[in-house]
């Protein structure tokens, strides 16, 4: 972000700056207008500056961009004519300066003696600083901030009388404590750039100053530092210390080495004019060898047009580049040698130059062209299955929800999921938002229960909801030790069929409906599955939960969520009805290819039998007694289960419907009676199941 006073910018412009024209140009160049503060006769405009354009973090930078749009290729010279000789001799100032690190690219230091810092900062400086969001401190500090905003060069000024002995700039060898100007203690990471004298740390280079050399109203002699520090160490230090200042913001994005000396000169000029004092005509300039020479790149007309989808001529390309301060030479009508201006640190490759051509041409002028590429289409089975499940669930009247991938740190305890369970999760986020979002979910159930209860708390008690998402788990032999699977989960509770219109009493969801849902889905996929009842998971009511198996592999679980688990949730007591839940991994589910078996020409006979089944005996086991009795039994389906009045304790009454058919003939009643006898005997012999009388 960069905020500036519009009047300031206009005052620096030699060609005027129409407000609407300026804002429009910035907008179409991708510098979003973040805010505008209206001061009546002036406006403070804040623009969003992306990380690649630190040159836009100054009034000069924004003006240059405006000039680019106007085709005016020469910006006014901000550097005053101040006689100064810069030498590579670190002893020319009152304090010796020792640069002991490769992270300093430029260090320009000049000295002014006898300044008067007791006066008021001129109103125009105060006005411009305030509108740019910078607080006014005292004239010298304000001037340093003014230069930063004007040309983008961070300046640091030391009170020379407070510096004890030599000034050293070095990387700290180990984490080091430092107290900032704001009296905050921070810990510098190893490698941070620290400037110190013989006794005290003075400042964290390019980031923040300390108390020791602070410039105050009483300050008489000053050393001006206009330097260039490496952007990587600046970023790392700023991030690790959580200190971001106007200077660090610019250094970490990159500041041109070319502004170090002009920054010092503007400071000398302004300070001596406004605060008096005599400056030392010889200053110190350290240079590490980082070239200030403009970079040269070659781009071709062919590649530019190929990448932009345009048909620009060499003349057009060169004009666009020249307008935004790039030099161009093209001798063969194809290869263009581009000289990159020193302030454009982001231009490294030909594609960077091509972007400049594109934006100057105008993205709005690029004519969209349909993609003409043959690429083979590859089916994504997970996507296909996820959508198929969604469509099925919509048909079943379910509503899809989306919950976060992370759940509370204590979710496993709340869900009573046992530690040895496959569905126990312990993958924690190192930096969670808070402990409510700490654990990567090993299943979707926490989110669905939470959603159900949240809806109950606003009076929505009858719910059928589902989610399709990822579950996460550890897997040593998998990439990075983690794995994840796409799962489907559904939760149902409350009334499924309300009384009225012929229904005498509300019919409510039970765990059998979860089984019915699973069955319907598996039938759609033509997948044979098995539910193995078990209390292993811990989340379900005892005896009312089980694992879902396909081809001998566990793919999920199903059951009735226990009251104790529901009560672990805030407002869990609102869940008065049964809460049925199922979840399974659908990866690997295939297309359900099957043929249609045509009905028999002969009529079927259907009979219903009310069986008295001892609890714990599963339908999937005793149904074999029935189906195994004869080939003429073509279908056996449970119609109802009942416990209560008339059914002995420990037993369940199960109503099953049996369909008899033979495709070659009409069945006789006696024949059916014989088969009946046979399976009733098998039921009795194998499972002690009798007919309920």
């Amino acid at each position: 972000m960069f905020k500036f006073s519009y009047n300031w910018l206009k005052a620096e412009s030699e060609i005027g700056a129409d407000y609407d024209e300026l804002l429009h140009w910035l907008d179409i160049q991708g510098f979003e207008i973040a805010s505008i503060e209206d001061y009546g006769d002036d406006k403070a405009v804040e623009i969003e500056v992306k990380a690649n354009r630190p040159d836009m973090l100054s009034v000069a930078g924004v003006l240059r961009e405006f000039y680019a749009g106007k085709g005016r290729r020469q910006l006014k010279n901000f550097t005053p004519d101040v006689p100064l000789t810069l030498v590579d001799d670190n002893g020319v100032l009152s304090h010796k300066i020792d640069v002991k690190t490769p992270d300093v690219h430029r260090y320009c230091a000049v000295e002014i003696r006898g300044v008067d810092n007791t006066g008021e900062t001129p109103a125009y400086i105060k006005d411009r600083l305030t509108k740019s969001g910078v607080a006014c401190i005292n004239p010298i500090v304000d001037i340093s901030n003014y230069v930063l905003l004007q040309i983008g060069q961070p300046i640091h000024i030391f009170d020379a009388d407070k510096v004890k002995g030599d000034i050293r700039i070095e990387n700290v060898p180990a984490p080091t404590k430092f107290t900032t100007l704001a009296s905050t203690e921070i810990e510098l990471p190893k490698g941070a750039l620290l400037i110190s004298d013989d006794e005290n740390p003075l400042c964290v280079a390019g980031i923040i100053g300390g108390h020791a050399p602070e410039v105050t109203a009483e300050t008489k002699n000053i050393i001006i530092e206009s330097a260039n520090f490496d952007h990587v160490i600046e970023r790392v230090t700023s991030k690790k210390t959580h200190v971001q200042t106007a200077a660090s913001y610019r250094f970490e994005r990159g500041v041109s080495v070319a502004t170090a000396v002009p920054g010092a000169l503007i400071c000398i000029d302004m300070i001596t004019k406004l605060c008096g004092g005599e400056y030392n005509k010889t200053g110190y300039l350290y240079t590490d060898g980082t070239s200030a020479e403009p970079q040269k790149l070659t781009v071709t007309k062919k590649r530019i047009n190929a990448l932009l989808g345009s048909e620009l001529s060499v003349e057009q390309i060169c004009k666009y580049l020249n307008d935004c301060f790039f030099g161009t030479v093209c001798e063969d009508g194809e290869n263009i040698v581009v000289t990159v201006p020193d302030f454009r640190l982001d231009i490294e490759y030909d594609v960077d130059v091509i972007e400049e051509v594109g934006r100057m041409y105008g993205y709005q002028n690029i004519e969209p062209q349909p993609v003409k590429l043959y690429a083979p289409y590859v089916e994504n089975p997970v996507n296909k299955n996820a959508n198929k499940l969604r469509d099925m669930m919509v048909g079943f009247g379910f509503i899809e929800v989306l919950t976060y991938g992370f759940i509370p740190g204590n979710a496993m305890q709340m869900l009573h999921i046992k530690e040895d369970s496959e569905y126990y999760g312990d993958i924690k986020i190192l930096n969670p938002l808070n402990n409510f979002y700490e654990l990567m979910r090993p299943s979707l159930c926490f989110g669905l229960i939470q959603t159900a209860i949240a809806n109950m708390s606003v009076g929505k008690n009858d719910l059928r909801i589902f989610e399709v998402g990822k579950r996460f788990f550890r897997q040593k032999d998998h990439e990075d030790g983690y794995n994840e699977k796409n799962v489907f989960a559904a939760l149902m509770t409350g009334v499924k069929l309300g009384r009225g219109f012929g229904i005498v009493k509300d019919a409510k969801f039970s765990v059998y409906d979860a089984v019915s849902l699973l069955d319907a889905i598996m039938r759609e996929y033509n997948i044979k599955y098995e539910i193995r009842q078990t209390d292993e998971l811990g989340m379900f009511e005892e005896g009312a939960g089980g694992d879902i198996y396909v081809g001998g592999r566990r793919i999920g679980y199903i059951g009735k969520i226990s009251r104790a688990v529901l009560m672990e949730f805030e407002n869990g007591k609102l869940a008065r009805d049964d809460v049925a839940y199922l979840e399974f991994c659908f990866e690997g589910f295939g297309e359900s290819k099957r043929s249609i078996e045509f009905d028999s020409d002969y009529p079927s006979v259907t009979r219903e039998y009310n069986l008295l089944v001892k609890n714990g005996i599963h339908f999937t086991d005793y149904v074999k007694d029935i189906t195994g009795a004869s080939d003429i039994i073509v279908n056996v389906s449970p119609r109802d289960v009942y416990t209560g009045i008339g059914v002995p304790k420990g037993f369940t009454s199960v109503l099953v419907r049996v369909e008899y058919n033979d495709p070659t003939r009409t069945l006789g009643f006696e024949e059916i009676a014989d088969v009946e006898k046979k399976f009733l005997k098998a039921l009795l012999d194998n499972h002690k199941i009798t007919l309920k009388l």
Partner: protein
Amino acid sequence: MAQFIDEKRKELEEKLCQSDAADKLQGVESSFKKVMKELFAEMKTLPNDQKKDVGAAINEFKKEFEERIAAAKKKLSEIQKNDAVIDLTVPSPEFIRGKIHPLIRVGRMFEEVYKDMGFSIAYGPEIENDRHNYEMLNMPYYHPARDMQDTFYLEYPKVLLRSHTSCVQVRYMLEHKPPFMIISPGVVYRVDEIDPQHTPCFYQVEGLVVGEGINLANLKWAVMESVKRVFGPEYKVKFSPCYYPYTEPSAAVDMGCIMCGGKGCRTCKGTGWMRVAGAGMVHPNVFEAVGYSRDTVGFAFGWGLNRLPMLYFKIKEMRKLFENEISLWEQL
């Protein structure tokens, strides 16, 4: 004969007057048919010279009663309509259709559009490593996004929750050779405190097209065309320069704010626009990182899928997407 006709007329008139129900009217109709048969039979017995006049009288009689019966039928049906015992404006609650989450609904619209354009769908893991999520995408270790303030880590700095689905593209490029056109929809995570317009996880649909001759104009078409197909041709879209480390040239896609019609409101932070996608030509450094030649060309785009359902369904707060208030989704 005329007397006979009069008798029958009286008989039928009497019946017609009493026909206040459908079954009675049916009785009148069958009596009428019977009478007509009798009259024609009677006419056959008459001498030829009388047949003409009597025939005309019978025809007149026939016409008259056909009209009167039709009128009676019409009147009866109107009466019945008003007296209907079933109010067909009352639906029973029998059939309930479920709903797909608005985010997924809009995501699927985009998926369909891109599938029609020939894109395949690619998926990848949500738990990622720094190599796929950052390094190979031209984001070196000091890149601001790699900080713990922006990215959720499981093991710092190696294992993280993907901050974009661009890592799916990286994985895809490592395993496939161009040409290809893919989209990678999915959940991504960023350290954002939950407030009306921020959630720590959200959805993206990213696209990647790599192949000879691909250019920025193709990219502009792909994003503009998809908006047109999903939202309608009248929708305003802005395509402007932007910056992303993994694309160059880069572009931003903004859509006119549907809440305020572009005038500026809280949702669009007063700008009249909502940033919905980032895009650009894939950076040669990315191609190099996945083992392609630097001369390879291709474009990539990424829709922030939280914003689009907000625009599509006029949902004012992003966090509502994850609050799952069922009564809201029932309105879809």
